[in-house]
Every structure is written in structure tokens, then in C-alpha cells.
């Protein structure tokens, strides 16, 4: 199975080359890959599933584990089968597109990710493919990225799904932490561990967030209709059978784990129902083919969530049946819509009429899939709807919602699939004509599917749907034929059709009616989302302007403030010890201090003060020099002649440099405002105090250290030198010195370069 998935990615990489070679025929040739996968999965279905595992990152619990059960295979077959049709279709639809190769690259990469997602048997592996579908679909939706609309739609889709994806990731990490394993098939077993665990609700909410964003549930639905900016084949593929069904798949997969969780079920039922109504109503109000289909897709996804939320055997069975039916007819309708658009250059349903004569084959396909969507017997859509009704009857409220949705489905089906082909032809931008086979064959195939399975529902049940349902529930079901649903269900279906027909004829009035709801648009989730993003960017800008303001002294203030705030508390925490040290020190100070040392201290103090206060640069530099020479004297007094000499010469050179450098600079500017100054004074003071305390703390220990003894013992005998400091510099710790002279060299080169390398146009060589 790993190979099956990888073949998809391999095909993606090869696609551009094939495209370059095959030209017009590309679609047909490339379709061989998904077609082959389709057959492969059929074989797996016959074999009753398969398992394969390979380690990836065991430390993290990530493994390339794949498992094909009924549910996975249902999805896999849809993905590969419809994938093949879409491949053929887009070969014709985009035949003269300059970047057809890239198109197939993205398409196959997406298909492969989708297959991986439904076959994965490992939490993290599932997530990895989940994210892969997110950004491959991003590339598909934004395929025409020269248009602003496409870019925006693609970005929105990516961000919404990615946000959900991160919620999902968080949920999965917590889940894995609780259950202690990341295998999906093992999950059902660990349901016990989760029961009554504090993190349970969090996990449920996070997983649902992931599923809802991906499957465009209200209020996260808005990216889906916008994603119609994608070329039609992509829309057909993403929104009929794949991308948006990933969330549904996740919910189905997780069903055994949360079978008895109230939050899980209510969440699904409520949001599913809301999505169904919202999507249906918005769909009825559309006039453009693709948008109408998009909203009806949203509604359909609502139905599936709703059914999985109910979670009874019947409901799950109905869910998979409806899922299958929807995949067939929705893909068909999208493809037909695309064909019509392609052939006439017209997308507005109000200006499409009487195309049946011009494009009979397309019309035939359209009629069948549309009627299947409407739920007209004997098409499979009818069977599926029977199952659905039977499943929801238990609760009147849910039933009402479902029926209402079904009515709107009838409307949409007739409006998109039937109306444009009947009546008197209108003239369209392009003269209507039957498009090339690659455009009418795929929809026709899907229509045939809807028709065929309508006649043999039992066969389909046994072969595919019941195993799928079993995959969801974790136990197998008894086959349930039509007879199971009583007359009530049948009556409802009939009524749905009649009333739906009525709504269809009244659709213009309905649209007008719904037009009145524009007032609500500020509250539309999409606007809220956009406002949220804008707010985020604004806040980001505000905080960045606030802290990254460009004033060096502001930065330094924060740094030193942090220094004090980090060290002072520790010193306070150990104040007794610090106190003891201070005490002993002050005593020793009184006893041992000598006169010239006090004088030296005063000299230092005065000259330091002078450096701060001098009004002219040269005076300040002179004061700095005094400080330096004071240091040298200290070194002499406390047994460090080498230091004294070095310090003395260096100080001299430094002063010369300072004079050379400041020669050009203007006089000191007037000091900043007093408020600042007092603040600075406080900060500087506290830094000084902290450092002084730390020095005392350090000097508290007994010396000389073991190192000191070792050096003075071995300096002569092993280091051949009586000046221990020098021996340390050139032998014991010569590496320090090496680094140090490197610093010097770099400093010199740097200074030279800074002074003499000038950018072009500013004199000097470039």
C-alpha cells in the first residue's frame, strides 16, 4: 500500500515530463495511474483489506502504517476512480494551458496525499497526509495565481484548514499522550483509558475543530465556496469526493473512540444540522453554477456529519450510502457545469437554456446525476435518501432539518442539472457545441454509476457500503434492504420530490426573499474571520512598533532592567548569606584598609564621576585616561606587574585613538530630559549595586585555588618560565591567547575595511 501511495507522488513528479511528451493526449495517458490504483483497491476490497507497516520515527510514534478496511477502501476507490475521470477531464478542459504539467503535478500529489490520509493507520501519519492535502489543495486552488481572487481564495482555504489542522495536531498529541499509542486500529481498544479522563473534552473539541474546518462545517464553511476560484476539475475533485470529505473521514475513523461521548455526538448533530440548513439556503440563493454547487456541497457535508453524530447503525449505514451517492452525483454535476461553461462561456444559470439540443450527451449525463441528487427512483441517490430518512426519523427535529435540506437539494439539482438543457436556446458568448469526449465521457461514466448502483443497491451494500459501515462501527452489520424502511419513508421521499419541484419553480422568488438577508452580512463568519486576521496583523504591528522602536537606549534599558530583575530576586532569596558576607567584609575592610588604597579608591571615584560629567569630549577622554592609569596602579599595588605594564601602554594608545576619532565629531548634545535621567540613574545604580554584591559573594571563597598552586608549582619545572602569568599566556592557556590575537587581527582588518571600503558613488573604490 505504501507503494500505491508513493506511486501517486512519483506520478506527480513524472507528470510534467509526460505532459511535455504527450501534448493533447496527456489526460488519457496519465489517467492510467489512478485507473490502475482503482483496480488495485478493488482487488484489496475483494481480498477483504490489507495491512502494511514501516518505521518512520518510532521515537515520536510516527510510523508508515497503512490499513485498508471497508471505510478506507470506500474512500480510496472514490479518490482513485473519480481521480481517473478528473484526470481525463482536465486533459481536455485545460488542453491549451501553458502550465498543464504543473497542474498534473499538483493534482497527483494531492491525490496521493488523499489516499495516504484515508489509508493511514497511525495518528501522526494521518495528520501528515492531512496537512499535505492542505497545501497541495492550496496549490490547486491558487493555480491561476495571476488573479488576485485565486490567490486570496487559496490563502484563505490554506489558513482556515491549517488552523484546524493545528487544533487537530494538538488534539492528537494529547490523545496519544493519554492512550499511550499512536496506532489507529488500536484506538478502539484504548477507549477505556479515555473514558473519564480530564483531557477528554479538550481532545473531542480539538478533533472536531480539525474536522469542521476541513469539511467546511458552519461557521468554517466560507473557504469552500471561495475555493471555486480553482479550475473546475479541481473543484469537482476537491469538493465532491476528496478534500472536504477528509473531515468526515476523520469523524468516521474516530467514531469507535467517542461512540459514547455526549459532546462528540451533540457537537456533530448541531453543527451538521446548522451547516445543512445554512448551506442549502445559501445554495438556493445562488445564480452561478459553481457557487450553487459549492453551497449544496456544504449542505451535503452537513448531512454526513449529522448522520455520524446520530451514530446508530442505521445512521452510519445511511451516512456511507449518502457519501457514496453524493460523490458520484456531485462530481458529475461539477463536471457538467464545467463542460457547459467551457462550451458556452456562460456561468449564470439565468442566461443558460435549451442547451440540450446542442450538447445532448452532456445533457443526458446532467439529467441522470441531477435526478440522482434529487432522489428520484431508481437512481442511487434515491436509495441513499431512503437510508437517510430512515435513520433520522427517530428524532422529529433532526428529521425536519433533514427533509428541509432535501427539498433544497431538489431545487439545486433541477436548477443546475435540468433547467439549462430544456426550453428555448439563448445566445451565449461562445456558440454552444458538444465538447470533446474527454469532457462528456467522465460525467457520463458517473451518471452510469448513479444509474447502475440504483438498480443493484443490495450488491453495493454487500460489496462496499456494509464493510465501510463496519469499518466505522468496529463491528459488522446485517444487510438491510429497502423493505426495512416503512411506507412513511417512501411517503416522505415522494413529498420531498413534489414540494422540491414547487420550490424549483419558485426559485426566483426565493432568491429575492433571501436577498433581504444581506443585512446580516457583517455577522457572516467569513467577515468575522477576515476581521480577525486584520486585527491580528494590526496587533502584531502595534506590538512590534512598541518594542522594536529603533531607539538604542530603549533597548539597553530593557536589557539592563532584565539583568537586574533576573539577578536581584536570587540575591534577595538568599539575603541571609549575602548579609553574612557583607558583614565579614565590612569588618575586614575596617581593619585592613591602608591609606594609599583609600586614596586610590577616591581617585577612581572622582575620575569616574568626571568621565560622566565632563562637558567637553577631550576632558572626558582625559578623565577616562585617569581611570585607566588608576587601574594600572591598582594592578601594581596588588602584585600584577604584567597587567600594569599592558594596561599602561594600552591606555596610552587608547587615548591617542580616542583623540584621533573624536577629532571630527561635534560637541556633546544637551543631555536628554530629566525624567529619563533620573530613571537612567536608578537603573545604572541598581546594576552597579548588583555587580558589587556579586563581586563580594565571589571573593568570599578561600584562595589561592588549586589551579593557582598548580601553575606556580609547574611553571618553571615544566613551563621553563619564571613569569607564571606569561607561562599561562603562552603555554598553559595559549589557546586563549591565540583566539585573542585573532580578535585583534580581525579588529584591525575590520577597522581598515570600515574606514576605506565605501559603496559605489560615494568616492573611493567600490
Amino acid at each position: 500500500m505504501l507503494i500505491a501511495v508513493m506511486s501517486g507522488f512519483a506520478g506527480a513528479l513524472l507528470a510534467p515530463a509526460v505532459c511535455g511528451a504527450a501534448g493533447k493526449r496527456t489526460g488519457w495517458i496519465l489517467a492510467a495511474l489512478p485507473g490502475g490504483l482503482f483496480l488495485y483497491f478493488l482487488r484489496l476490497l475483494a481480498a477483504g483489506g490489507a495491512v502494511s507497516t514501516l518505521d518512520w520515527a518510532p521515537e515520536l510514534g510516527v510510523s508508515l502504517a497503512f490499513r485498508a478496511d471497508g471505510l478506507s477502501l470506500l474512500f480510496a476507490l472514490l479518490i482513485s476512480g473519480i481521480g481517473a475521470l478528473v484526470t481525463v477531464y482536465s486533459g481536455g478542459y485545460l488542453s491549451n494551458h501553458p502550465f498543464l504539467g504543473r497542474w498534473f503535478l499538483y493534482l497527483f500529489a494531492f491525490m496521493a496525499s488523499m489516499l495516504g490520509l484515508v489509508l493511514a493507520d497511525n495518528l501522526y501519519l494521518l495528520f501528515i497526509f492531512w496537512e499535505l492535502t492542505s497545501f497541495t489543495s492550496y496549490l490547486l486552488i491558487g493555480f491561476n495565481h495571476d488573479e488576485e481572487a485565486s490567490r486570496a481564495a487559496a490563502l484563505q482555504a490554506l489558513l482556515v484548514t491549517a488552523a484546524g489542522g493545528l487544533a487537530l495536531l494538538a488534539g492528537l498529541v494529547i490523545l496519544a499522550g493519554v492512550t499511550g499509542n499512536t496506532g489507529l486500529s488500536g484506538m478502539a481498544a484504548s477507549a477505556e483509558l479515555l473514558r473519564g479522563h480530564p483531557a477528554r473534552v479538550t481532545v473531542v473539541v480539538l478533533l472536531l475543530l480539525g474536522a469542521f474546518t476541513k469539511s467546511a462545517q458552519f461557521p468554517f464553511h466560507f473557504w469552500l465556496p471561495n475555493a471555486m476560484a480553482a479550475p473546475t476539475p479541481a473543484s469537482a475533485y476537491l469538493h465532491s469526493s476528496t478534500m472536504v470529505k477528509a473531515g468526515v473521514y476523520l469523524v468516521a475513523r474516530m467514531h469507535p473512540l467517542f461512540a459514547d461521548d455526549a459532546v462528540w455526538h451533540t457537537g456533530l448533530v448541531v453543527f451538521g444540522g446548522a451547516t445543512l440548513l445554512y448551506g442549502g439556503v445559501r445554495a438556493a440563493a445562488q445564480t452561478v453554477i459553481k457557487r450553487m454547487l459549492a453551497y449544496s456541497t456544504v449542505a451535503a457535508l452537513g448531512v454526513m456529519m449529522l448522520l455520524f453524530g446520530i451514530g446508530t447503525e442505521a445512521a452510519v449505514h445511511a451516512a456511507v450510502a449518502f457519501l457514496f451517492a453524493h460523490a458520484l452525483y456531485k462530481a458529475g454535476l461539477f463536471l457538467v457545469g464545467g463542460a457547459v461553461d467551457h462550451a458556452t462561456g456562460e456561468r449564470d444559470l439565468r442566461r443558460l437554456s435549451g442547451l440540450g439540443r446542442a450538447m445532448p450527451l452532456t445533457a443526458a449525463a446532467a439529467a441522470v446525476v441531477a435526478l440522482s441528487m434529487a432522489g428520484v427512483p431508481p437512481l442511487f441517490g434515491f436509495t441513499a435518501k431512503e437510508h437517510v430518512y430512515a435513520a433520522v426519523l427517530a428524532s422529529p427535529a433532526v428529521a425536519a432539518v433533514t427533509v428541509a435540506g432535501a427539498l433544497l437539494f431538489v431545487l439545486v439539482a433541477l436548477a443546475v442539472g435540468v433547467r439549462p438543457f430544456l426550453g428555448r436556446p439563448l445566445d451565449t458568448p461562445k456558440h454552444a457545441h458538444e465538447p470533446s469526449p474527454s469532457l462528456w465521457l467522465p460525467p457520463l461514466a458517473l451518471a452510469a454509476g448513479s444509474l447502475g448502483f440504483g438498480f443493484a443497491p443490495g450488491l453495493l451494500d454487500r460489496a462496499l457500503l456494509l464493510p465501510a459501515a463496519a469499518g466505522v462501527l468496529g463491528e459488522s452489520l446485517a444487510p438491510s434492504g429497502h423493505a426495512a424502511h416503512g411506507g412513511l419513508v417512501l411517503g416522505l421521499s415522494a413529498a420531498t420530490l413534489v414540494v422540491g419541484l414547487g420550490l424549483f419553480f419558485a426559485r426566483d422568488r426565493i432568491r429575492g426573499l433571501l436577498g433581504g438577508f444581506r443585512l446580516l452580512s457583517p455577522g457572516e463568519p467569513e467577515n468575522l474571520w477576515n476581521a480577525g486576521m486584520r486585527g491580528m496583523v494590526w496587533a502584531a504591528g502595534a506590538q512590534t512598533r512598541a518594542i522594536q522602536h529603533g531607539y538604542l537606549r530603549g533597548y539597553l534599558t530593557l536589557v539592563f532592567l532584565a539583568l537586574v530583575l533576573l539577578t536581584a530576586p536570587v540575591l534577595l532569596r538568599h539575603s541571609p548569606e549575602v548579609g553574612r558576607i557583607l558583614h565579614s567584609r565590612s569588618l575586614s575592610a575596617l581593619l585592613h584598609l591602608r591609606f594609599h588604597e583609600v586614596g586610590l579608591g577616591l581617585l577612581m571615584a572622582v575620575s569616574i564621576g568626571a568621565v560622566v560629567h565632563m562637558r567637553t569630549r577631550l576632558a572626558a577622554v582625559a578623565a577616562l585616561g585617569v581611570v585607566g592609569y588608576g587601574m594600572a596602579i591598582i594592578f601594581i599595588l596588588f602584585g600584577a606587574p604584567d597587567l600594569a605594564m599592558t594596561q599602561f601602554v594600552i591606555e596610552t594608545l587608547t587615548v591617542i585613538l580616542l583623540v584621533l576619532a573624536f577629532y571630527h565629531l561635534p560637541a556633546f548634545a544637551p543631555p536628554a530630559r530629566r525624567v529619563f535621567q533620573t530613571g537612567n540613574l536608578l537603573l545604572a545604580g541598581s546594576v552597579g549595586v548588583v555587580m558589587a554584591l556579586l563581586v563580594l559573594v565571589a571573593a568570599d571563597e578561600h584562595h589561592p585555588t588549586a589551579l593557582a598552586r598548580y601553575f606556580s608549582d609547574n611553571s618553571l619545572s615544566l613551563g621553563h618560565g619564571r613569569n607564571v602569568v606569561n607561562v599561562i599566556l603562552v603555554d598553559f592557556r595559549a589557546l586563549d591567547t591565540l583566539g585573542e590575537i585573532t580578535v585583534l587581527a580581525l579588529a584591525a582588518l575590520g577597522a581598515y575595511a570600515v574606514l576605506y571600503l565605501k559603496p559605489r558613488g560615494e568616492g573611493g573604490k567600490p
Binding site: 522594536q548 540575591l571 592557556r733 583566539g739 580581525l746 575595511a753
Partner: protein, 504 residues
Amino acid sequence: MSLPLTLPLLVPLTGAVLCVLLFRSPGAQRAVALGVSLAHCLAAAALFAGVRGGGVAAVQISGWPAPFGITFVADLLAAVMVCAGAGMGLCIVVYSLFALDRGRERFGYYPLVLALLAAVCGAFLTGDIFNLYVWFEVMLMASFALMALGGERPQLEGAIKYVTLNLVSSAVFLSGAGILYGRVGTLNLADLSLAVDTHLSPGLLTAIAMLFLVAFGIKAALFPFFFWLPASYHTPPTVVAALFSALLTKVGAYALIRVFTLVFSHDIGWTHPVILALAGVTMLTGVLGAASKYDFPKILAFHIVSQIGYIVMGLGLFSAMGLAGAVFFMVHNIVVKTNLFLVAGIARRLTGETHLDRLGGLCRARPWLAACFFVSAMSLAGLPPFSGFFGKLALLVAAARTGHWTVFTVAVVVSFLTLYSMTKIWTHAFWKPAPEGMPDPAPGRDPETDRAVAGMLIPVTALAAVSLLMGLGAGPCMRLALDAAEQLLDKGAYIRAVLGEGAA
């Protein structure tokens, strides 16, 4: 192990010296730089092989027994970092051969780069706190010079802030080292580790630890010390920015990890929550900065800050998985971030622009470049199957296991914002058609540019591939990171390697 431990320092240092002596002929310097960086990679590989096989290795430089001389130590972390550093060095040098202007070459670009590499490796390998200071200074000095090299106004403005804040850091570092010696009486890290454990009053050592937190925090661009980075990183040529982002902040992070695992792990209850908090804030402020900017390199610069937060978060969690995540993330980040800067450099070369409003059309014009960027960007945003995802996953798992839910949440939110700012670049610079009046980046306009870009794409492609491989090969990489982490948590091996079997 004497030779493999010394060469990663010695090779580039010698190369730098040779380049200094060859200051009259840039051509010769290019040759030396290329050869040396190749040799450097080999040396690093040898070191890694030795450590992977034989465990922690140590050599007493100038032959004096520890703790009296200076010890070079290589555990897995150090070895991995040296390899990463050498690899980046090679990429940078190759890129520079095609990208750099004559002026900078004449004024010592190559010696500075090689010295920087040497210093970085010295910092990774040294087992002595003061020697670490010295290598930090070498690194800083080289970076100062590189930052200002070229003398354009933004460079100088940025350099002033960069230099000042980093000199403050050095002063704090130096003070910390001095106080530590005064208090504990040794400079050797392993010896310090022992001394701290057996110290009479470890409490006050925490205060010293805080000094190091500040010093390394500034180097690593941790909140609230990172301001120098967004102020300066976008001003020099992007290849220099790439070099910095690859190594400088990472050395700071490395020093934090080293010191706060080996030496200052006596007061975890106090120090590591602080570190964790800083890490969280760093992630957030950094990525918000990135979200608010519309300049290609500036966005990347803020991202460096944000991701230092991730790395330090691993340290703050202080569990094997956390440290492993930190190590993995650090290497991943070195690769990816360097690559993004290099891509930005190509974009600038093609259009002469870095601002997103004036960039565009790169996806149509340069699909290969676009692909490389896309891989790196998605990897940075932590999307699978690239390296970033596994680093993020490891850190999240670690946070969940240790029950740090706040930082867990922050990390998740931050990765969303990261994705946002990356797609911002992608949408504007690559998808959007080239804006009016901007030069068309498509090939064939200027053969010289095309040739240069072709050369610059070599390292870019290589790095993108590495990021992908680190994802696909996440298993072994994570295993390696975990081994490194376990070495960090068990100080015994390190101490014994330095002070001999008797110790610890």
C-alpha cells in the same frame, strides 16, 4: 581523537590567516576559501564519525591535564553542531563565489568568514568557560566587521546597535566568568559541574547563572534581548545575513543549552521556569514581528527570533524529548533559515528589491527557485513531511508529557502565525505577477545575472534537499537527537571524558 577535535578549529583558522596574507589577490582568496571550507567539512565529518562511534571525546590542548589547561570536548551535540556549521560554511562560500561584489572581496570578506567559522567551531568544542568567551569575541569581531563591510548607511546604523548590545553581552559574560572563578575556583566546564554540585551554598550560584542567561540570551536573541537582531540582520548583503542566521544566534542557544545542562542544573526549580517563560514570549513576539513586516529579509530576521524561542523551549522543558527537540529543531532551523536568506538574496539579485510590494512573478519566471523556497518555507512553518514538522512535534510531545500546557499552546499558535507570514512571502513575491515598472525576473534578460543565479541555486537546492531528507529520514535524525539529549542529561560521560575515569 586529538586531530579530529582540533582540525575543525584549525583548518578554517589557517585558511583565514592565509587569506590575510593573500590580501592583494582576491582570486587566490576565493580558491583558498573554497578549498578550506571543503576540508573543513571533511574534518567535521571525521569528528562526527569518531564521536558517534566512540562516545564523548576530549583533548587537552597544549597537553596540560584538565582542569589546568584548556580542554576541547566533543559530545554528540557539539559534533552535530560542528557538522552543521561546516556545511553551512561551505554553502555560504560557494554562494559568495557567485554573489559577492569585488569590493567586499578585496576588503577581507573571506578571511572574516573563515575566522567566523573557526570561532564558531571553537565555541562548540571548547570545554572551558573563559575560552568560550574568547571564541565568542572572535566570532563577534568577525561578525562586526562583516556586518559593517560595505559601508552603506543602513549597514552602519544597524552595526552600531548590533555592536553596542553585543559588547554589553560580552561584558556581562566576562563578569560572569570572573565571578564564577572567584566563587568556584575553576574554569573547566566539567570541573565546574562537579564543583557546583558539591558547592557549600549553591543558592548564590543561581545569581551567577542569571548573568550567563543574560549574556547568552543577548547572543541568542532571546526576549527581551533580541532587539539588535531585527535592527541589523537585513542590512548587510543577504549572504552575510544567511551566515549570521545560520550560526551566531545558534551559538548563543548552544551555549545556553551547554551551560544550563552541564553546570547550572543545580536549581532547576528556579532557573528553568524562567527560561521557559522567556522562550514562550520570544516565540510570540518574534513571530508577531514577522507577521507585521512586508520586507523579505526583515520577516526572516524576526523569524530567527521566534524560532530561537522554540529551541530554548526545549531547554526549558529539560526532558530528554525536549532537549532532543531542541537539538533537532536547531539543526533544522540552521538549514532552513539559511536557505530562505539565500533565496531572498537571489530574489534581490533578480529584481533589486526586497520589499514584498515591489517583488513578484518569481513563480512563473523561476519555478526551480520557487520550489526550493516553497520547501523551505513550508518546512519553517512546520508542515510535514519536511524537517520542521518533526522538530515541532517533538517539542509539542515533550511539552505535553511534562504538562507545560501554556507553552504548548503558545507553540501551536506560533506555528500558525509562522505559516501566515511565510504564505505572505509566497503570495507576494512568487505568485503575484511582477508589479508594473519592475524588472522582469525571467531568464534571458541579462546572461551574467543568469549565470550568477545558476551558481547561487547550487547551495539553495542542496539545502532544500537536506530539509526534505531530514523529514523523510526523521527516524534516524530523531534517534541521533535523542542520544545527544541523553548525553546532555547524563553529565557523567562528559565529565569522565574531560577529567578522566576517576571523576564523577
